[in-house]
Amino acid sequence: MFIKPFVSHILLLVVCCGVSYADETMHLKAIESVGGKVSRVVGGREVSFHLGRRKVSDADLLHVAALGDVVILNLKRTGISSEGLSSISEMKELRKLHLELTQVSDEGLIHLLGLKHLAYLNLYGTKVSDIGLRQLQELDSLTHLYVWQTRVTQKGVDEILAVRPTLKVVLGIDLDLIRIPDPNAPQQRPKISLAFVAANNVEDAPRSGNGENIEVVFENRSQQTVKLVWIGYDGKPKLYGEIGAGKSRVQNSYENNTWLITDVNNEALGYFICGAERAVAVIPKR
């Protein structure tokens, strides 16, 4: 007794959609065979090809159109062309359409003009221009339109906004205005200088305290090679390296760390205590 109402529901579904169960299975299989994913969303179905193999041809879209209740279609980065959009004109329930990064151009947009529910249209990275945008003025339901990296100009955007003032059109930024930093450019010399405290004995240098992670640029302006020695938190000296006469060295350090400078014979010359900021530490001429 439960079967009868169930069957009648199925029949109703088939009549409503105009697609037989067998046909539907065939269409779903065809969509999946080219990497499409069909899922149920509120109000209908979503068909996405953008995470699949993307080798979607214009003919494949006929299967999507045949489903009858597709409300979201994602063709991002697929091989779809302007001609292929002709089958989309049959998808009357469509609310969201992703065509970004495809070969679609102005000629294809004519196929979208019958989509009376279309609210979101993504054309970023396509060949559409102001001419195509002018056609889209007819789309009453459109609320979001994306045209970054296309041939659309601000003038074209202004034109469509004059007709559809509530439409959100995203033209995006001009990437050429972004300055790309040169990774090989020398870093600016720090403005803060650490005081050099002259010392005759290694023991004169106080043990390190801790604090913020900073950077110190040691500049050896003496006439000799010097040794760079870190005085540990326990007061023990640890050799970090040598800096030749006239050379410099960028050293990772921490606030309140002590750096002792000795000559090559380990005779103390003086020390620096780091502050909380990136700084330069000049080893003076004797």
Binding site: K37, S39, R40, V41, V42, G43, L51, G52, V71, I72, R95, K96, H98, E100, A119, Y120, N122, Y124, T143, H144, Y146, W148, Q149, V170, G172, I173, L175, D176, I178, R179, I180, P181, P183, N210, G211, E212, N213, I214, A276
Partner: protein, 444 residues
């Protein structure tokens, strides 16, 4: 694990709960009202100061208001801290919640409450399978990504406090299948201070040259050595399989390689791991990863040293020089980028933090932990931008109106993702859990 709610059932039940008939649902189907498909969680580890971010108090007494001024945003009547100049031009995309509060004054407890939406149990420990799942793990649980695509990813650090791995940012009772996988951001100047990795993170470079990845088997062997040492991980096979799928060439692998990105876009995010991690989050979500969580600061709080939001000392200098510039630039770049690509409508951006900071400035020019009121934000994914929900009092000391909890904030995020916050899931022992105790805020 037994699951009694598929996403479809949840969607259906949320319609039923709301008492909407199908025609009403159809009427609501403007593009912006569709549930979000992806989520980016931005976590300010350590507790971002509400005063110095989204709830400045220019009229407060000088010992409270601090050194920074407030600036107008692109929405009249909404002001941000002066050190968020770029983000202030994206206020139209953001819903700021200024009346959040909870009762957890410690980092572990505050972070756990904020990231899971549930109060922490006593004696909480990381990787315990009775812990609540993080927001990222939970949202990921309801998604169905393609094969080889994790449900959720975290970048670029684990959260630690003085060497102790924190509980909260994992799958908890959802099981290890839903632990968000940690990936190292492959580029960018690191946050100064201490950031730690376990042996488990997935570095897709993995020191494996491409030429050495000749077969799945050799790759598996490599991965076993690289990530397979921690035996307590119960479902390592799935992890390895996924890693192998990703490494052998998938959209996720391609997205991970930031060298594939336009250098101008990379520059827009800034040459810092904070910016490059946001860029990675955009690339990964675009490639089909449903949820990416970004730790926006150094991974280990290390007693308040280093570039994290735990500003007990030198709050103003640290925020002005180190933290806010990276945060401002990277978040603004993310908003710009998502919007230009038409992804912001489908991508929910959620900001989380442990708690706010004390209104009174301490003797070290810092602010201490303050859970009594703090600010967070949501953007994209059907959230109505350009609004502030709730407020704190004139001293930024307690909620003045529309007080709300981390659970309410979670319920809002879940609703934006099309997930009924009152759904039940079952754990390993078939015990039912209601995923969220809060009520969605009216931000849609």
């Amino acid at each position: 694990m037994l699951i009694n709610h598929s996403r479809r059932v949840v969607l259906k039940s949320s319609i039923a709960v709301a008492g909407l008939t199908v025609p009403t649902v159809l009427q609501l189907q403007a593009a912006s009202s569709m549930p979000a498909k992806r989520c980016i969680v931005i976590y300010c580890w350590g507790g971002i100061s509400h005063y110095e971010s989204w709830d400045p108090k220019p009229g407060a007494l000088s010992e409270l208001r601090g050194e920074f001024s407030a600036i107008d945003t692109n929405i009249p009547g909404i002001q941000f801290s002066e050190h968020l100049p770029l983000m202030s031009q994206h206020a139209d995309k953001m819903a700021i919640v200024r009346s959040l509060y909870h009762k957890q004054g410690g980092h572990q407890q505050g972070m756990y409450h904020s990231i899971t939406g549930h109060a922490p149990p006593p004696g909480i420990k990381a990787l315990n399978r009775t812990n609540s799942p993080s927001l990222a793990a939970l949202i990921g649980r309801f998604q169905d990504p393609n094969s080889g695509t994790p449900n959720a990813i975290r970048v670029p650090y684990n959260m630690y406090d003085n060497g102790t791995l924190m509980a909260g940012e994992y799958g908890g009772w959802l099981g290890s299948d839903y632990d968000p996988i940690l990936m190292r951001t492959p580029a960018g100047k690191p946050f100064r201070g201490v950031s730690r990795y376990t042996s488990r993170e997935l570095d897709l470079n993995l020191n494996l040259e491409k030429s050495r990845i000749v077969s799945r088997q050799t790759l598996q062997e490599q991965l076993e050595r690289e990530v397979g040492e921690t035996a307590e991980y119960d479902r390592l096979d799935r992890f390895r399989q996924m890693a192998a799928d990703m490494l052998l060439g998938s959209d996720v692998r391609e997205a991970y390689d930031l060298e594939n990105e336009d250098p101008r876009i990379r520059a827009m995010y800034g040459d810092h791991i904070g910016g490059q991690s946001m860029l990675l989050a955009r690339r990964l979500t675009e490639a089909g990863v449903p949820v990416v969580q970004v730790c926006a600061g150094a991974g280990d709080l290390a007693g308040g040293n280093g570039e994290n939001w735990d500003t007990h000392r030198d709050n103003f200098k640290k925020l002005k020089v180190q933290l806010l510039p990276v945060f401002d630039r990277s978040v603004s770049a993310l908003f710009t980028d998502l919007e230009m690509r038409g992804l912001l409508e489908e991508t929910l951006v959620v900001f989380l933090t442990d708690f706010g900071r004390t209104p009174k400035i301490n003797n070290n020019a810092g602010r201490d932990h303050y859970p009594a009121v703090y600010s967070m934000a949501l953007a994209g994914g059907g959230i109505q931008g350009g609004q502030v929900y709730g407020s704190s009092d004139s001293n930024g000391a307690k909620p003045k109106d529309n007080a709300c909890t981390p659970a309410d904030f979670h319920a809002t995020a879940l609703k934006a993702m099309g997930i009924d916050p009152h759904s039940e899931l079952t754990d390993h022992f078939d015990r039912p859990f209601q995923i969220c105790d809060g009520e969605p805020l009216p931000l849609f």
